[in-house]
Amino acid sequence: MFRYTLSRLGQSLILLLIVSFIGFAVLTLAPGGPLSQFALSPGMTQEQIDKIASQMGLDRPVWVQYFDWLRHLVVGDWGTSYRDGQSVLHVIGSHLFATLLLMGSATVMSVTLGSSIGICSALRRGSAFDYSMTVLAMVALSIPTFWFGLIAIYVFSLNLGWLPAGNMYTVGDGSVIDYLRHLILPASVLALVDVAIWSRYMRTSTLNVVNQDFVRTAKAKGLTRRRVLLKHVVGNSLVPMITLAGLQLPMVLGGALVTETVFTWPGMGRLFLDSLGYSDYPVVMGLLMASAMLVLIGNLIADLGVALIDPRIRLE
C-alpha cells in the first residue's frame, strides 16, 4: 500500500508540472493581455502601456516568466494579482469560503436526497415512484441550471417575496438566519442536477448489490428487511460512490459558475471567469494549479479509498 501511494504521488507531481507548463504557455502565448483593458482609457498611449508592461515584467521572454513563476510557486509564493495587487493565495482564499458554503450545502443536499431516491427506486424497481423519479432526473439533467435559477428567482423572490434574489448575505445583517435565507435558492438549484446524478448512480449501484448472493443469503437467514437494507445493501452500494465523490472534489474549487452568476454568489467560478476576462495570469494559474491539485488529490483519495476497501485493487 505504501509503494502504491508513493508511486501515485510521483505520477501526480509530474502531471502537475505538465499542467503548469501547458497552462502557462497557453495563457501567455494567446493574443491580447492584461493591459488591453486600459487601451480605451482617456490619455492612455501605447508608450504608457509598454512602460507598464515593462514594470510588470511582461516584456520578458515567456520561458523566463515561467521559470520565475515556478520558482516562486515552489516556495509558496503564488504571485500577485494584476487586477488588484493582492497575493494570489489571498485572492483565492477570499473566494473559497463562499464556494465551500455553497458547494458544501449543495453536496450534502444532493448526496442525501440523491442516494435516498436512488435506493428507493432500486428497491421499488418498475414502480410508479421509480418511473417518476427517472423522468424527473432526466428533466433535471436536460434543463440548463441558468433557467432553473431564473425561474426560482421569479417564483420565490419576485412573485412570492419569500427569499432574496441573490447575494450571500445582507450587508449590515450577516446573521446565521440571513446566510441561510440567501443560501436556500442557489444551493437548491445547484443540488437539483446533482440529485439527479446521484440518484441514477445510486439506483444502478443498489440494483447490483441487491442481486448479489450475500443479500439473498442474508434474507434466507431470516434477517429483517430493514437490517438487510442497512447492513448489507446501503453500505455496499456506497462503495462505487466513493469514486464519484472523489471526482466531484475539484468541483469545489471550480464552483458552479452559472449558479454563482445568477445568484451573484462571490465564489471561485466567478473568480476564474473574471480573471480570464482580465487576463490576470497569476490568478488564473493559481486557480489552474489548485484545481489540478484537487483533481489529483480527489483521484488519489478515491483510488486509495477503494484500494483500502477492496484488496484486489492493491494486488494489481
Binding site: 490619455g43 488588484d84 445568484f263
Partner: protein, 553 residues
Amino acid sequence: MTDRNKKSAHLDRRQALMMMGAAGAGLMTPMMIGRDRAFAANADASGQLVLAFSQEPTVFNPLMPHIEVDEGVYYAVYDPLFDFDPDGEFFPVLAAEVPSVANGGISEDGLSWRLKLKEGVTWHDGTPFTAEDVKFSLELTMDPDFRSFRSTGYRFIKDITVVSDTELTWTMSESFAPMTAILASTYMVPKHAFDGVEDKNATILNTAPIGTGPFRFKNRMAGDHIELEANPDYHMDGPFLKTLIIKYVPDLNVMYTQFKSGDIDVIGLQYISPDHLGEAEKLPGKVVEVVGAATFESIGLNMTRPQFQDKAVRQALYMAIDKGSIIDALYYGVPTPTETYMPRQSYYYNETLPRHEFSIEKANALLDEAGWAKGSDGIREKDGVRLSFSNSTTAGNHLREQAQQFIQQTFALIGVEMTIKNLPPAVMWGDYWMNSEFDSVVVGLNVLAGADPDASDYFLSSMSPALGGSGQNTFAYQNPKVDELLVTGARNFVPEERKAIYEEMQAVIREDLPFLPMFQYALIKGWKDDVTGPVPNINNRIDTWNVRDWARS
C-alpha cells in the same frame, strides 16, 4: 455627527437662505435637485444604499492605470482638486478656487499656475491634507518607477513649489488649456501613505484606500462588494448616507432582476439594457431616466488601408448605413443619431453639421462616379484595389453584432464586401487596436477630457502608433488642418474662442469621415424613488461624481 444634529435643529443663515430659495423651486433645473440635497436639513448621515456595477472595481490607488468602474469608488473615497458639474462648469473640491486666467490662478500665457487649497481638510486617518500632498500626487504621476494612469499634460509640469500648506505653484513648459480638465480627473493621494515604501506601486492604498472623500473605506468582499462608511469630518456638505455599498453584479439580466426585486437601490454601470426599458419605466417605486453619455458609436476606419484613402468611398459607405433602422430596431430607439464625436450637450457641439442620409442609390452613384467599377463577383474595385475589408468588434456584444450584420447587408447593395471578424476584448483592445492592425472596427469612444473639447490624443497626426507616434489615433488619421486647429485650441484658454475652433474641426472631420459616426450613447439609469441625489453628469465617466449628496428619504 453631533454638530450636524445641532444644525438640523436650529437653522443657520445658510439653511434659512436655502429655505427661501426653495420657494422658487419651480425655477430650479433637475440638476439642482442633487445640489439642493447637500444643503438640506437632513444633515446626519443615515441609512444604507446599494449601488451596483457590472464590473468589479479593483484598483484602489487612483493614480494607477484603471478603468471606468474604478472611478465609481474614487469619487466616494478620494477627491479631485476640482470637478465638472453637469453644465461643464468647474467647481472647487479640494481647491479653494478653480485656477483660471480671470482669477489670476493661470498666467495670460498659460505657463504659470498658482493653486490655493481649502483649509482644515483631513485625510481619513486624521492627518491634515496640505499642498505637500498635492505636489506629491502630481509628481507621482510623472515618476518613471510608478505605474501612472496617464502622462498627457503632466509631462509639461515643471518646478512645483509649495508656498504654504494651502498654496502651491508650478510652471508649464507649454501652454496647455486641457490641463485644467485633466487635473479634474486626478484624485489626490496622501503623501504619508508612501513614507518608507520601497515600491510605490505596492502601498497600503492598493488594499485599504485613504482619501479625503465623503466615504471611508471599510472593507471589501472580493468578487462581491465594497463597503464604505460616512466620513464624519468631510469638508463639503454631506455625506447623507451612513453606509454605501458598491455591489458587483456581472450579468446585466441579473442586475436588472435585482433592481426590480429591490436588492439594488441604484443601478449603475452598465445600467438597464435597452430591451428592458419599456418594463423598467413601469416599475413601481422606481425612477428611470434615459440620459446622454459622451461616448459615440462609430465605424472606425484604418486610414492606412488603400480602400479607405478615397474620400468618395468613405462618404458612400456612410450613406449606405441605415442608421435610423439600427437605432430604432436594434437599440430600441434609445441612443441619439450623431454626426460628430462631440456630445450634443457640450458647449462645443456643432449643430450645423450636414445630416446623414441613407441612400443606396446615391452611394452607388458616388462610387460609380469615383471610378469604382463592379467586378465579376459584384464587388467594386479600382486600380487593383477591391472594396473588401474586415470589420471587428468585441465578441459577445449581441446588439453590436446584429448591427454589424445589418451593415454588412446594406454594404453588399453598393458592391462592398465587409467580412466580420470579432475578437475577445483582451485581444480586440490590445495590439490589434492600439497598433491599427484592423481594417475597420465598431467602437464606442469618448475622446474628450471631461468637458474639455480637446481630442488631440485621437485626431492629431503625431498621435498615431501605426505611423510612429504615441497616442490613440488608431484611425491613423492625418489632416494638417485638424492638426492646426487642435494645436491652436489647446493653447487657447478662452471658451468663446475655442468654440469656433472646435466647431470648425468637427466640420472638417464630418467631411473627411475617418470614422462613420452612428450615434451618441444614451444610458438608462434607475434608482429607487426614496433615493435623492443621483444626477446625470455627461462630463464624468461614472455616476458617483456627487455621491456626497446622495440620501435616502
